[in-house]
């Protein structure tokens, strides 16, 4: 019969266990959540009505500051780790049920987003590839026009975003991907706290509500950038962001955390 294999190194032992893999998912997931916040703050400068001066200055700073460069390498590493670990978990989880049920009603006991994290993650991944090759690769490896700013010549990344977001299909890809991200975060945000062992009736409802608000606000705010640029309505940006925020609050209030279950004590049904 199967017995637990002995591994000598405790760290390898821990990180290759099911719980350890989930720890990696949660920590990298939380890092990516923080990244989403910082990246959004920077990108919102695209909506400033100044012909791209503020955004290009920011992009130039981000592209040349050594600390940012180091963090960006860490970011790539963490996203890769998140993806590789998610594949290892998915392979294991599929193998754990070799014969499927002929008939299931999984929807009665769990949320759709929680059962489709790999699908949702893949949508985010496809988006990342499209997004990185459109903007990041161009600013690294060439393909951007130049503009002069503060007396020096810098990449005109703002111009590239304007060209991209004038295409309706690119805007559509962005919006759809953000819906995928929203569902990924809807489950992922609270799930990461559960994985880290943080589940307590004192603060879990708070994590739930913040998580729902986050899962709505962040993707909606991201999506508003290409939409407003497509519509050439950058001046409406403040209005749009307030709208995203109100939407997030409404969702957060409407979607309640799961009730604490009452013991059934083997009662008859």
């Amino acid at each position: 019969m199967a017995t637990a294999t002995k591994t000598t190194n405790w760290l390898v032992d821990m990180l290759t266990s099911t719980l350890g893999r989930k720890l990696i998912m949660a920590l990298t997931g939380i890092f990516l959540i923080l990244f989403l916040v910082v990246h959004l703050l920077g990108n919102l400068q695209l909506l400033k009505d100044d012909g791209g001066v503020a955004f290009n200055r920011y992009a130039d700073f981000m592209g040349h500051n050594p600390l940012i460069q180091a963090i960006s390498i860490g970011n790539f590493f963490f996203i890769l780790l998140h993806i590789v670990t998610s594949i290892m978990l998915t392979v294991r989880n599929r193998a754990a049920r070799p014969v499927q049920y002929a008939y299931t009603q999984e929807g009665k006991s769990s949320a759709w987003s929680s059962r489709n994290m790999m699908l949702l993650g893949t949508i985010v991944l496809i988006f990342l590839v499209v997004h990185l090759q459109a903007f990041w690769a161009k600013s690294k490896f060439g393909g951007l026009s130049e503009t002069s700013l503060d007396g020096k010549s810098v990449h005109n990344l703002y111009d590239a975003t304007q060209v991209a977001f004038a295409e309706n299909w690119i805007v559509a890809i962005y919006v759809l991907s953000m819906i995928g991200l929203a569902f990924h975060l809807f489950h992922g945000f609270k799930s990461s706290f559960q994985t880290l062992g943080l589940n307590h009736k004192k603060y879990s409802p708070f994590i739930h509500h913040v998580g729902v608000a986050f899962a709505v606000f962040i993707p909606a705010a991201y999506a508003s950038i290409p939409v407003l640029m497509f519509l050439k309505q950058e001046s409406m940006s403040l209005f749009a962001l307030v709208g995203c925020f109100v939407l997030a609050l409404v969702f957060s209030m409407v979607i309640k955390p799961k009730q604490e279950l009452k013991k059934s004590e083997g009662g008859a049904g």
């Binding site: 019969m1 199967a2 017995t3 637990a4 294999t5 002995k6 405790w10 760290l11 032992d13 821990m14 266990s17 099911t18 719980l19 350890g20 893999r21 989930k22 720890l23 978990l89 294991r92 989880n93 193998a95 754990a96 049920r97 070799p98 014969v99 499927q100 049920y101 002929a102 008939y103 299931t104 009603q105 999984e106 009665k108 006991s109 769990s110 949320a111 929680s114 059962r115 994290m117 489950h187 609270k190 799930s191 559960q194 994985t195 880290l196 062992g197 943080l198 589940n199 307590h200 799961k258 604490e260 279950l261 009452k262 013991k263 059934s264 004590e265 083997g266 009662g267 008859a268 049904g269």
Partner: protein
């Protein structure tokens, strides 16, 4: 008996039939007439009588106490473990079904729970997880007085809540990953919360999780399906507690396992 229902339920059953663990198995259709007062297992007993009379092989399914306390009965009924109510199959009654219903009956599906025959699966993987650390070692000797060890009421209550786990495996059956986290966490919490369980607390959680992984159960995606389907309402708060104990154990203890 007064109060018995007079109306009958005509049901179409689609039951998983598999001769032995090497057989491929398939769904087979049966017709059965049941009373709403019967338990689900009694309904299967009626069907089996019928099959025996016809000289056919009766359907194998697990059961023991038929009181909802042993955890032996299983069955994935109409897409949910133990059927539509949050209870065990022996405590599920035919009043939960309607005349003319089609009822799918399948065994627990998990690599770690191989089918023995028809609807009966081998759940000894759970036993091996318990053997790996799901116990408290005590010295023999004179009986200890009741209440000699003080335990705060809410701690005792939480431990008791976890202790109600009957090891049925519905959590594994309901999980999209066939994960055993709810079961293992219930055992870890039940023993780890009590003063008597402290000595082995960190060794226990590591040993049990290592065994759980070795048995081939899936990992946890925190979908919450297990707690929604658990007949004893075991909370996934226990999984969070187990994760905490496991990480603390790995990061702070020096004992080599």
């Amino acid at each position: 008996m007064a109060g018995n229902s007079t109306h009958k339920l005509n049901l179409t059953l689609k039951v998983w039939r598999q001769k032995n663990k090497n057989d491929k198995g398939k769904m087979v259709e049966y017709k059965v007439v049941a009373s709403p007062d019967m338990s689900f297992l009694e309904m299967l007993d009626v069907l089996n009588e019928d099959l025996l009379k016809k000289g056919e092989d009766p359907i194998a399914f697990d059961h023991d106490c038929r009181e909802g306390i042993c955890g032996m009965c299983s069955l994935y009924i109409n897409g949910q473990p133990h059927g539509p109510k949050q209870t065990t199959t022996c405590q599920l009654h035919m009043r939960s079904f309607n005349d003319g219903d089609t009822v799918y009956i399948e065994p627990w599906r998990a690599k770690a729970f191989p089918v023995i025959k028809d609807l009966a699966v081998d759940r000894s993987a759970f036993d091996r997880i318990i053997q790996a650390g799901g116990y408290v070692s005590v010295n023999t000797g004179v009986t200890v007085d009741a209440n000699e060890i003080p335990i705060p009421k809410d701690v005792a209550g939480e431990s008791m809540d976890a202790a109600t786990c009957i090891g049925c495996g519905a959590c594994v059956a309901s999980c999209k990953n066939a994960s055993a986290m709810l079961f293992v966490s219930a055992k870890v919490a039940h023993l780890g919360l009590l003063p008597q369980g402290q000595a082995e607390r960190y060794r226990r959680v590591q040993k049990m999780i290592a065994q759980m992984d070795a048995e081939g159960f899936g990992a946890c995606t925190n979908t919450g399906a297990c707690e929604a389907q658990c007949p004893k309402g075991i909370s996934i708060k226990n999984i969070a507690r187990m994760n905490r104990d496991y990480f603390v154990a790995k990061l702070t203890t020096e004992e080599a396992l």
